[in-house]
Structures are given as structure tokens and as C-alpha cells.
């Protein structure tokens, strides 16, 4: 079926991107923050256009894309992230660049890539969508092209990205060789129908795919690009990397692993569990050593990826019901993590616009000079650490709760211990803000009203999800059950 009405929201996003590019081309002297507001408006239109799709019957496009509640979920998430990032960028980019049209256009395109990754039910489409997102990110990371760090970050990102894409593709080719198809259902059917057990080709293929997607979500040991790219990128893009890019990676992983590869769960679940363990431990331990705030966030988000991978491992270890609740909890955790990260970066950007300092020590005495920003930063760090009443507590709790199966108890225990380690470096940051005096000449300041309002809104979101996760959970539950409606279709044969 070629139903072109399934992706109307994405047309809006792409049209917005083109319109913004064209606007700057026609009117080069336009104030750059207007472009940001236009982007945010476009994203808002995108989000609004997505709302009618909630609960709509799943629409299939040629068997390669699927617009169901899972897709809609990521659609809303992507639109929300792009909107927030555009607003965060407004002053930041205006002060730092003379051309911003491509920047904002690519934000929208990247968001579209994320949605398509979530919608793909076929490897070729998934790969192309992944590259659409990646290409946009390569450019956005290196957007400050004369800035040595930005340029270096983008170089590392694209070289390693291409390298890991090649790995991913080789894995896909092996899976294609074994199953003769690239569609998820087809792969699952072929793997299930296969006689004589798993062959080495499938195993190697899956491992190469794990490496490829592991790179995208920056799971250790494929994570090394992340701290450098995070540090070099423009600050709002760091936020975008740590939210959209990770969410998209997990959207792809969820579709792929619950749809196509679940039949062979025995082959990959131990590996994913090991990756989860390595990732969370490495991320948290390395975070302790950081002095640059962006790198700290990078390592801390690597730690978070470790927690998220626990849910993927649980899909492999549990039965169908566990798999569904683990997916649902993972989606919820992604939302909580996204909102907290955006809140953190809104505050950091407001601080950075003022001081231009992205070291941890640069936050010295923020509680004195700007208590509200300090509060927002504290709340989001508490949320990462999983303290009660903040989003991270509820979502992490449900994540671990849903992932606890007999085979994974050790991993959940390790994750709990890791949360403890993470608190240490979060407290180091808070110490700077609350216990030290501001640097000489630093006086009380007011953040830009826009950033202040956005930070306040996101802070409310963090608290809301933490205190009353029910509405968010219903949404993720709906998305997860859509995911399993597709993949079930009689062949979800879990061990």
C-alpha cells in the first residue's frame, strides 16, 4: 500500500526545513533568532499534526515503513526535542554565527530521520534513515567550522561513524544472506523456520549489527567518539546528540530486536547484558575523572545507555510479557531522561551564554548568581542519579522493575550500585554551585526570559514524571503494545 497520508507530519517538518533554508537564502540579513522561532513553530506544527495519529490504526507503507503508535510516540518525542533545541539555540547561535539557516533546517531533517528510524520495519529503510540522522549530526557537530574543536569533533564522528556503518552493513548483508530478505517479519519467519539451529553467519551478523547500533547509542566499547563529539559540538547540539540520537538508536534497536531478531534471542542476550554492564560501569567511572561539563554529561549519558540496555537484555531473557513491559519501561525511561537532559542543557546554555565557560569549575557559585538555574541543574542531576520525586527515580525504578528476570538479577544489582557511583560526580557538580563563591566580578544575573521559561517548563516536566508517571506511562505502554502487535503476529517465539 502506498498511503502517502501516513507521513503528513514529516512532510511538514521537511517543508519547514526547506522554508527556513529558502528564507535565509532570500533574506540573508534576517535576525538569526527569528529562524529559531520559525523552527520551533515548524516543530510545533509537526507535533500538532502528529496528534491525530495517536491511537489510529497502524498504517503500512509498502511494507517498509509503519505508522503506528510506536512511530507516533517517537514522532512526538522528536518534534518536542527539536522544538526545545531550537529555542535553546536561539540566542546561542545568534551570538556566534552569521548563517544559521542550514543549522535549523538540519535540526528538522535530523528529527525526521529519527522518526523514520522508529517507523522502519525493514533493514534498508532503517539504514538509510539512520544515515539521514547521522549525516545531519555530522554537519551539526561541525557547524562551527572554524572552531578547531568543533571541526575535530565532526571529523572523529564522521570517520568512526562511517567505519561503524560499514560494520553494520556487513552484518546486515550476512543476515540477508541467511534469510534472503531484509524485512523484519521476513527475517523472523526465516530464522524461525530454519533447521538445524543457528549458524555462525547469523551470530556474526548479529554481532556486527550490535556494534553498528551500539555505536549510535554510544555503548561501550563503541562509545569513545561520544565524549569528543559532545565536547566539540555547539552546546545545543550536545543536548541534541544526547537525546535525539540516543532515542532514535533505541527506537531502531527496539523494532529490530523485538521484530526480527527476537527469535534468536539466545544468541545475543548475553552479549547485550555484557555490553550493558560494561557501558554503565565505564560511563560512570570515567565520568568521575572529568573536568569539562560536556564530557561529564557525555560519560553520564553513556552510563544511562547502560541502564537502557538492561531493558534490551531483558527482552532477550524474559517471556513475551516481560519483553513488552521492558520495552514500555525503556520508552518511559527515554522520556524521563530526555526531559531531564533538555532541562539541564537549557540551564547550562543560559549559564554559558553569560560566562562562556563549559568547565565544571565554571559553575562556581551559580546558586549565588542565578539560583533558579542552579535549581534546574540540581533537579536534572538528581533525576539522572535517580533520587525520589524526580523523573529519573520513577522511570529507572520501572525500568529495573520490568527488567528483573532471574537471568538478569546481577545486572540490575550492578545498575543499582552504579547509580550510587553516579551520585558522587553529580554531587561534585552541585558542590561547585552551592558551596563555592562565584568568581571575581561575577554578579547576579537574569537568564533570557525564553530560556528561563523553557527551563521552568522542563523542570515541571521532570517533577511531574517523577511524582505522577501514570500519563507518561500510558503513552509508552500504548507505544510498546503497538510494537508487539506487529512483531507478534503468531511468530513471537520466545525461549
Amino acid at each position: 500500500m502506498r498511503d502517502f497520508t501516513l507521513f503528513i507530519p514529516e512532510y511538514i517538518a521537511i517543508a519547514g526545513a526547506i522554508a527556513i533554508l529558502a528564507t535565509e537564502l532570500i533574506w540573508p540579513k534576517i535576525r538569526k533568532d527569528y529562524l529559531a522561532y520559525a523552527t520551533a513553530a515548524g516543530a510545533l506544527g509537526w507535533l500538532v499534526a502528529a496528534i491525530p495519529y495517536i491511537g489510529d490504526t497502524a498504517g503500512d507503507f509498502e511494507g517498509v515503513l509503519l505508522a503506528d503508535d510506536f512511530t507516533t510516540y517517537f514522532r512526538i518525542l522528536a518534534a518536542g526535542i527539536v522544538m526545545a533545541i531550537a529555542l535553546i539555540s536561539a540566542h546561542y547561535m545568534r551570538d556566534r554565527t552569521s548563517t544559521a539557516g542550514e543549522y535549523y533546517g538540519l535540526l528538522l531533517v535530523a528529527g525526521t530521520g529519527m522518526v523514520l528510524m522508529a517507523a522502519s520495519r525493514e533493514l534498508l529503510t532503517a539504514y538509510i534513515s539512520l544515515e539521514l540522522l547521522s549525516f545531519s549530526l555530522y554537519i551539526l557537530v561541525g557547524y562551527f567550522k572554524r572552531d578547531r574543536l568543533s571541526n575535530e569533533a565532526s571529523l572523529k564522528y564522521i570517520l568512526l561513524g562511517a567505519f561503524s556503518s560499514a560494520m553494520l552493513l556487513y552484518g546486515i548483508s550476512l543476515i540477508y544472506g541467511v534469510t534472503g530478505t531484509t524485512s523484519y517479519e521476513g527475517i523472523a519467519e526465516a530464522l524461525a523456520a530454519r533447521e538445524g539451529g543457528t549458524d555462525a553467519a547469523t551470530v556474526v551478523g548479529i554481532m556486527l549489527i550490535v556494534a553498528g547500533v551500539g555505536f549510535k547509542v554510544s555503548a561501550a566499547p563503541f562509545h569513545m567518539w561520544a565524549p569528543d563529539a559532545y565536547q566539540g559540538a555547539p552546546l545545543p547540539i550536545t543536548a541534541f546528540l544526547s537525546t535525539a540520537s540516543k532515542a532514535a538508536g533505541f527506537a531502531l534497536i527496539l523494532r529490530l530486536f523485538t521484530g526480527a531478531l527476537v527469535v534468536d534471542a539466545v544468541e545475543w542476550r548475553a552479549v547485550i547484558a555484557a555490553l550493558a554492564a560494561i557501558t554503565m560501569t565505564a560511563g560512570n567511572l570515567l565520568a568521575i575523572q572529568q573536568s569539562n561539563l560536556k564530557r561529564l554529561v557525555a560519560y553520564s549519558s553513556i552510563g544511562q545507555v547502560g541502564y537502557m540496555l538492561v531493558a534490551i537484555a531483558a527482552i532477550g531473557y524474559g517471556d513475551a510479557a516481560t519483553a513488552e513491559s521492558a520495552s514500555s519501561a525503556l520508552l518511559l525511561h527515554i522520556v524521563g531522561y530526555t526531559v531531564s537532559t533538555l532541562a539541564l542543557f537549557t540551564a547550562l546554555t543560559a549559564h554559558y551564554n553569560r560566562t562562556g565557560d563549559d568547565t565544571i569549575a565554571g559553575l562556581r557559585g551559580l546558586a549565588e548568581t542565578q539560583p533558579f538555574l542552579a535549581l534546574v541543574i540540581t533537579a536534572s542531576l538528581f533525576s539522572f542519579a535517580g533520587l525520589p520525586f524526580f523523573a529519573g527515580f520513577a522511570t529507572k525504578l520501572l525500568l529495573f522493575q520490568a527488567s528483573t528476570t532471574d537471568g538478569l538479577l546481577w545486572l540490575v544489582g550492578l545498575a543499582a550500585a552504579n547509580s550510587f557511583v553516579s551520585l558522587y560526580y553529580y554531587l561534585m557538580v552541585m558542590r561547585q554551585m552551592y558551596l563555592f563563591d562565584p568568581p571575581e566580578g561575577q554578579t547576579r544575573f537574569r537568564p533570557a526570559p525564553l530560556l528561563g521559561a523553557l527551563a521552568g517548563l522542563l523542570l515541571l516536566g521532570v517533577l511531574f514524571i517523577g511524582v505522577y508517571p501514570q500519563p507518561a506511562f500510558e503513552a509508552t505502554d500504548r507505544a510498546a503494545s503497538a510494537l508487539f502487535e506487529v512483531s507478534a503476529s503468531g511468530l513471537l517465539r520466545l525461549p
Binding site: 533493514l123 534498508l124 539504514y127 538509510i128 544515515e131 549525516f135 555530522y138 554537519i139 561541525g142 567550522k145 572554524r146 578547531r148 574543536l149 571541526n151 575535530e152 569533533a153 565532526s154 571529523l155 572523529k156 564522521i158 570517520l159 562511517a162 567505519f163 556503518s165 560499514a166 560494520m167 552493513l169 556487513y170 546486515i172 548483508s173 550476512l174 540477508y176 544472506g177 534472503g180 530478505t181 531484509t182 565524549p227 569528543d228 565536547q231 566539540g232 575523572q289
Partner: protein
């Protein structure tokens, strides 16, 4: 005639050579060329799988995948070279080992 495994082995060798190139060479353009080798191996794999499958006259998925891989590879090279050129303008080097300001 030539069995499919021959193509797969050839592709495996090219791929591994490409991996070696990425790991060993210091020039960013050469790293990219090595990645091209890897992608080339992938295409070969896809086409071989497609050509040797039983209902292959009706199924061209592998070949189409290869076409897309080639297209994306070309685009990737274009973009990456732009970044390398920018690196060269910023630092007068295209050596990936020297583009290491950010570390630990």
C-alpha cells in the same frame, strides 16, 4: 563455475583489509578510502547473495541494497572530504593522529 562462497571469501578479505587501513593509516583521506573498501566489500556480499538465491530472478533486494550502499558511500565521502579539507585549513594537516586536541 564459481561458487558463491568464493565471492564471500573475497569480500571478507577486502573488508578486513579496509579495517586494517582504518586502524593503521594516519591520513584522514586514507582512512576514508579504507572505509570505501569496506563498503565495497559489503556491496559485493549483497550482490552475490542476491544472484545466488533460488528465486533470484524475482528478487533483487540485495542488488538494490548494493545500489543504496554505493549512493550513501558516495555522499559520505563527499561530506567527509569537506570536513577533512576544513581540518586542513584549520590546522594544516590531514593527519588524524594530530587532530587530537580533545582527549580523556
Amino acid at each position: 563455475m564459481v561458487p558463491m562462497e568464493n565471492y564471500l571469501v573475497l569480500s571478507g578479505i577486502i573488508f578486513s583489509l579496509g579495517v586494517y587501513g582504518v586502524l593503521a593509516r594516519r591520513n584522514a583521506v586514507l582512512v576514508l578510502m579504507s572505509v570505501e573498501l569496506m563498503l565495497n566489500a559489503v556491496s559485493l556480499n549483497f550482490v552475490a547473495f542476491s544472484a545466488y538465491r533460488i528465486p533470484s530472478s524475482a528478487d533483487a533486494t540485495g542488488i538494490i541494497f548494493a545500489v543504496f550502499v554505493i549512493a550513501v558511500a558516495a555522499a559520505e565521502v563527499g561530506l567527509a572530504l569537506a570536513i577533512v579539507i576544513r581540518l586542513f585549513r584549520n590546522r594544516s594537516t590531514a593527519n588524524v593522529d594530530e587532530a587530537a586536541t580533545m582527549r580523556w
